[in-house]
């Protein structure tokens, strides 16, 4: 208590604002680092949520392309061969379903990692209760010696410095813990993101190939065969042709997901190297939005293709 009341107090009081300023600067730096982890965890979570429907989308396209092959060959097969073909196609699709189910389940594991990272990064001195405990500690000390309760440093009551001090201590410790965790598991997380990228790239190729079959069949039936035949063309033939040609160029949800995985990986590398910026996170969020937009478009197109449930007059 002498330091507060004695002559040393004046020297101490001159140093305190400088130390406080340095602490605040250090705290801000460490908070930026903690925020990088929080931003990465949040976008990682959004990524896993957006990939799940993409996998469903992929299966839908495969099932449709598969059905078109069966339908096109049906008239030229015996009943026994038809059933064999159907059985084999079902087996192939069931195998695909099992793989996609594993990929979806695995996304849950990745989700758990991002959730744990988000929880650790989102905790602060206030929410962890550390500020309240530090305040309680100060109050207890005040009970031991009344001078502590009324003491001030450089014109500021000690009471008002409790919360910033607790925050500084907490963020310093938190930043250290997050960096240590990152070092320990960086290899596994990097491997995970690379594998997710490989899976989505492979699925993007599968999806593109299946969509190409659907588009080729539609183009053949609505554009090429009517044009080759002797009959009159439909009034909207040119419009249909233009629309089908343009549709083949549209980007798909799975291609967007593969792009987002590449960005997720570069964000992770930036996090490891302590240079993850707001711009990097914003770009990743844009990629994730592109996946969701592509899924919405695809769902809208599918809904438009569905026959109306309304009873016919």
């Amino acid at each position: 208590m002498k330091a507060i009341g004695g002559s040393g107090f004046f020297a101490f009081a001159r140093i305190v604002p400088l130390v406080a300023a340095l602490c605040l600067a250090a705290c801000a730096t460490k908070q930026v680092r903690v925020d990088q982890f929080a931003a990465f965890a949040a976008t990682g979570t959004a990524f896993t949520h957006s990939v799940d429907p993409v996998l469903t989308e992929s299966f839908d396209a495969s099932a449709k392309a598969n059905a078109l092959v069966l339908l096109q060959t049906r008239d030229d097969l015996s009943p026994t061969d038809r059933l064999s073909a159907l059985q084999q196609a079902d087996d192939d699709l069931n195998t695909r379903l099992a793989i996609l189910a594993d990929l979806k389940r695995h996304l849950g594991v990745l989700q758990s990692y991002f959730d744990a990272l988000a929880s650790l990064a989102a905790t602060n001195a206030e929410s962890s209760g550390m500020t309240a405990v530090a305040q309680g500690l100060f109050d207890s000390l005040g009970k031991l010696d009344g001078r502590i309760a009324s003491a001030s440093i450089a014109g500021q009551s000690i009471d008002s410095l409790i919360a910033p001090a607790a925050e500084f201590l907490f963020v310093s410790h938190q930043s250290r813990v997050l960096n240590r965790e990152l070092r320990q598991h960086a290899t596994a997380v990097d491997r995970e993101i690379r594998l997710q990228q490989a899976a989505l790239q492979a699925l993007a190729e599968v999806y593109a190939s299946d969509l190409a079959v659907l588009a080729a069949k539609e183009y053949r039936d609505q554009v090429a065969l009517p044009f080759a035949g002797p009959g009159a063309l439909a009034a909207d033939w040119a419009g249909t042709r233009a629309s089908l040609l343009q549709g083949a160029l549209a980007s798909t949800s799975i291609a967007a997901a593969a792009d987002a995985t590449a960005r997720l990986r570069s964000s992770f590398v930036a996090l490891v190297e302590n240079r993850l910026s707001h711009a990097g996170i914003a770009a990743l969020q844009t990629d994730i939005n592109n996946i969701l937009t592509a899924i919405d478009k695809s769902r809208a197109a599918r809904a438009a293709d569905q026959p109306s449930a309304e009873p016919k007059p």
Binding site: A65, N66, V69, Q72, T73, D76, L77, D81, Q88, A89, D92, L93, T95, R96, I99, D102, L103, H106, V109, L110, S112, Y113, D115, A116, L117, S119, L120, T123, S128, G129, M130, V133, G136, L137, S140, K143, L144, F170, H173, Q174, V177, R180, E181, Q184, H185, T187, A188, R191, E192, L195, Q196, A198, A202, L203, S209, A212, A216, K217, R220, L225
Partner: protein
């Protein structure tokens, strides 16, 4: 060319073949063919499609297996983060214990001061 490249190239050619079988040219060519040729073409189309799905499933299975192999490390990472969160809050527990102890001392000191 390594086996993986060969597989990718085969898949690419099979996909192009399947797409061509949905063209108007293919359909018109089959319309003029006899029943036996049409039956052969149907079987070939089924075989091409089956080969495509089998190769695709193989590629996806390889990646799936590697992802599953990585699960142990990933789960360990998540558990380690959860433990770290617990340790962070343990700092609070220590402070709480000290605070409680100081509260008791604060009540005892005035009592001791009042003793003769």
């Amino acid at each position: 060319m390594n086996p993986s490249d060969l597989e990718s190239l085969t898949l690419k050619q099979l996909r192009a073949t399947r797409k061509a079988m949905f063209s108007a040219q293919w359909m018109i060519a089959l319309q003029g063919a006899d029943a036996s040729t049409r039956s052969d073409a149907a079987h070939q189309m089924l075989a091409v499609n089956h080969a495509i799905v089998v190769l695709e499933n193989k590629q996806l299975t390889e990646i799936r297996d590697q992802l599953i192999a990585n699960e142990t490390d990933l789960t360990a990472g998540a558990q380690s983060l959860s433990k770290a969160l617990t340790r962070l809050t343990q700092v609070k527990n220590v402070l709480t214990a000290i605070s409680g102890f100081l509260g008791i001392v604060g009540r005892i000191v005035p009592l001791l001061a009042g003793l003769p």
